[in-house]
């Protein structure tokens, strides 16, 4: 394996007395789309600013293409940042904005022209080189910001909430477009977002951060299917929870005892011992609801009452009341013909052992 595009080792950054980044380490491979996700204040933006060079780490090291970035100013780093609010130069045209980085590096005029032209082509703005940023729509401004970074062919493109300022529909479209452009140019992308769904669809790998620490790094599938902590399970998608105690540990599954409920079977992550308190997490789309207790061969089945039913077009969202304090959400695909459940109705909630993950915490 060659050199990593970015290698972050044991990064620590204080903002005054608060620990903004707490011993973070990760590495990003060339051509990879890597996302840092987490709630606001989790340290993801600080990490990005440390990579860009706007802030200096208090401890730890950043290597970009094998080269230490210690005391290297932003203008000497082979990275370009796509700012959250684009930070386009309001006094320069689209063309001049995109050409800025090349001009600063004294690239020959003819090459600047061809590279800016190609970059504008890629983001579908070839016909608007003479516009000023204020004359563009939000989506167009976003694409100029992207072109302004890509045109320099940096070792790493950093993106700070790249789609954050766009409206819902545009976000959806740009998500696909951003990913397509990244694959086309083959550059390494490191993206910061608090929008987990966005990160899942675009990224090759994701790191979940909370309070300055990286909790888990893995593929979007890993994050969703095999969260290693309740925080990750909650942050990446919706998860239903139930606290219990381990009754029996087998090779791949464990048996869980929850007072007042039938015995449940689930997968587990870290090694478990009998008697350990655990939290069982299950995704809302994995449930099968039925009126008949003995229907189909699911591993787990608990009784519940429909507390709320929300028609959502493509699917139905049910709020299920298991006990006075435990409420779950179930998502059932709208197949068209079947009649839904009504509020107050008693149902059985079933799922397979592989759909539940037992987490210690």
């Amino acid at each position: 394996m060659g050199t990593a595009s970015v290698e972050v080792r044991d990064l620590v950054k204080y903002h005054g007395a608060t620990l903004a980044v707490d011993r973070c380490s990760f590495s990003v491979q060339p051509g990879e789309f890597f996302s840092l996700i987490g709630p606001s204040g989790s340290g993801k933006t600080t990490t990005l600013r440390l990579l860009a060079g706007f802030e200096q780490p208090d401890h730890g090291e950043i290597l970009i293409e094998g080269r230490s970035m210690r005391s290297i100013a932003p203008n000497h780093r082979p990275v370009n940042l796509v700012f959250q609010n684009y930070a386009l130069f309001p006094h320069l045209t689209v063309f001049k904005n995109v050409a800025f980085g090349l001009e600063m590096r004294h690239i020959a005029r003819s090459e600047v022209n061809s590279r800016v032209g190609a970059a504008l082509d890629m983001v579908r703005l070839r016909d608007k080189p003479d516009r000023f940023p204020s004359q563009l729509s939000g989506g167009e401004q976003q694409r100029v910001a992207l072109a302004r970074a890509l045109v320099n062919r940096p070792a790493v493109v950093l993106l700070d909430e790249p789609l954050g300022a766009l409206d819902q529909q545009l976000r959806q479209d740009m998500r696909m477009e951003l990913k397509a452009i990244q694959e086309q140019v083959g550059l390494t992308f490191i993206c910061v977002t608090h929008h987990q769904e966005e990160a899942l669809t675009m990224s090759d790998r994701v790191a979940v951060m909370d309070r300055g620490r990286i909790l888990q790094i893995g593929s979007p599938r890993d994050m969703y299917e095999s969260p290693r902590s309740v925080f990750v399970a909650n942050f990446v998608g919706i998860s239903n929870q139930l606290t219990g105690r381990v009754d029996e540990v087998n090779a791949a599954t464990c048996r869980i005892h929850v007072p007042g409920m039938p015995s449940l079977v689930a997968r587990y992550q870290a090694s478990l011992t009998v008697g350990t308190p655990i939290i069982l997490t299950i995704r809302p789309e994995r449930f099968v609801l039925s009126r008949d207790q003995h229907e189909s061969g699911l591993d787990n089945r608990v009784p519940a009452r429909i507390d709320k039913a929300v028609y959502n077009g493509s699917d139905m969202h049910y709020r299920l009341r298991l006990t006075d304090r435990v409420f779950w959400t179930a998502r059932v695909v709208n197949g068209g013909d079947q009649k839904g459940f009504t509020v107050g109705e008693s149902v059985y909630v079933g799922w397979n052992a592989g759909d539940g993950v037992a987490l210690t915490e």
Partner: protein, 296 residues
């Protein structure tokens, strides 16, 4: 479907115009106390001086041709030069100061701005007398410089162009700092970071991004300093003495000492024309830029 009351109110609001009546008091005041006297002065500038100092209503353009005398041209020249020098020095001192204040923590900005405008709380005349005390041959500046050993004999500053320049820079610096502060404070910090990220060094970040984006403040500050300094009167009168006259002093001299009102009026009008021309030039360039920025 259509609520009649809502359509009615909408109709009403579209008919509402931008009203002009709030202008009436100001317009009346300016007509009576500015435009009318100005027209009078303009008329006088084409009249002739009476034998004993009065105005004789005989048309004559000679007041204007008299200005072409090298003696008077030199006074205009000195005024323009001093005004340009003052503006330039104020910009060089004021820009870093304004930048510092605009980038200071929010709670300190008010304190720094207060320090900039505190001198306004005392009378300008009193402050200019204070400068006389400082710049005198046996004044504060010379005493200190002699004591420290930086000079061997007192240097003559008071009653030279240098004293006038120092006094003008002192007096008008706040007028430069305030608009610059407003422009720099408005500057989006991440745009500066973007330039830095795009390989610009400190020099390029300033000249390619910060400077053009604060140009409106620079133009406003320069106008606010240039216009009053070119016609300055108190500063050159007290600090420059008789040797270094500026247009303001010449006008005063013609009106009150020589009692040649027509000539004094002509000098005033030429000064005004210079200022208006200069301002128009500034505004024309400034206006184009404001447009670009305004579309943000």
């Amino acid at each position: 479907m259509i609520d009649p009351s809502s359509t009615a109110s909408r109709h009403h609001s579209t008919r509402q115009r931008h009203p002009y009546w709030p202008l009436i008091p100001a317009v009346l005041w300016m007509l009576a106390f500015f435009l009318l006297p100005l027209l009078l002065v303009f008329a006088i500038s084409f009249a002739s001086r009476g034998l004993y100092g009065g105005v004789r209503w005989v048309f004559s353009p000679s007041n204007y041709t008299m200005i072409l005398d090298p003696l008077y041209l030199w006074i205009y020249g000195r005024s323009i030069l001093l005004a340009f020098a003052t503006t330039g020095i104020c910009l060089v001192i004021g820009y870093p100061l304004a930048y510092f204040i605009a980038r200071a923590p929010a709670r300190w900005q008010g304190v720094w701005l207060l320090l900039v405008i505190i001198p306004f709380w005392t009378n300008f005349l009193v402050r200019t007398y204070a400068w006389m005390f400082i710049l005198r041959t046996e004044g504060l500046l010379n005493t200190v410089l002699l004591d420290v050993g930086m000079i061997r004999a007192p240097i003559e500053i008071l009653y030279t162009d240098w004293a006038v320049l120092i006094g003008l820079v002192y007096g008008y610096l706040p007028f430069m700092v305030l608009p610059l502060y407003a422009a720099i404070e408005r500057l989006n910090r991440s745009v500066v970071e973007a330039a830095w990220d795009l390989y610009a060094n400190g020099w390029s970040v300033f000249w390619r991004v910060i400077f053009p984006l604060t140009k409106s403040g620079i133009i406003a500050g320069c106008l606010l300093v240039f216009i009053p300094t070119i016609g300055a009167y108190i500063t050159p009168d007290l600090l420059g003495g008789a040797k270094t006259m500026m247009v303001g002093n010449l006008i005063q001299h013609e009106y009150l000492v020589i009692r040649d009102w027509p000539f004094g009026s002509a000098i005033s009008f030429v000064l005004m024309a210079l200022v208006v021309l200069g301002a128009l030039m500034y505004f024309k360039r400034g206006g184009v830029f404001e447009d670009v920025e305004g579309r943000r």
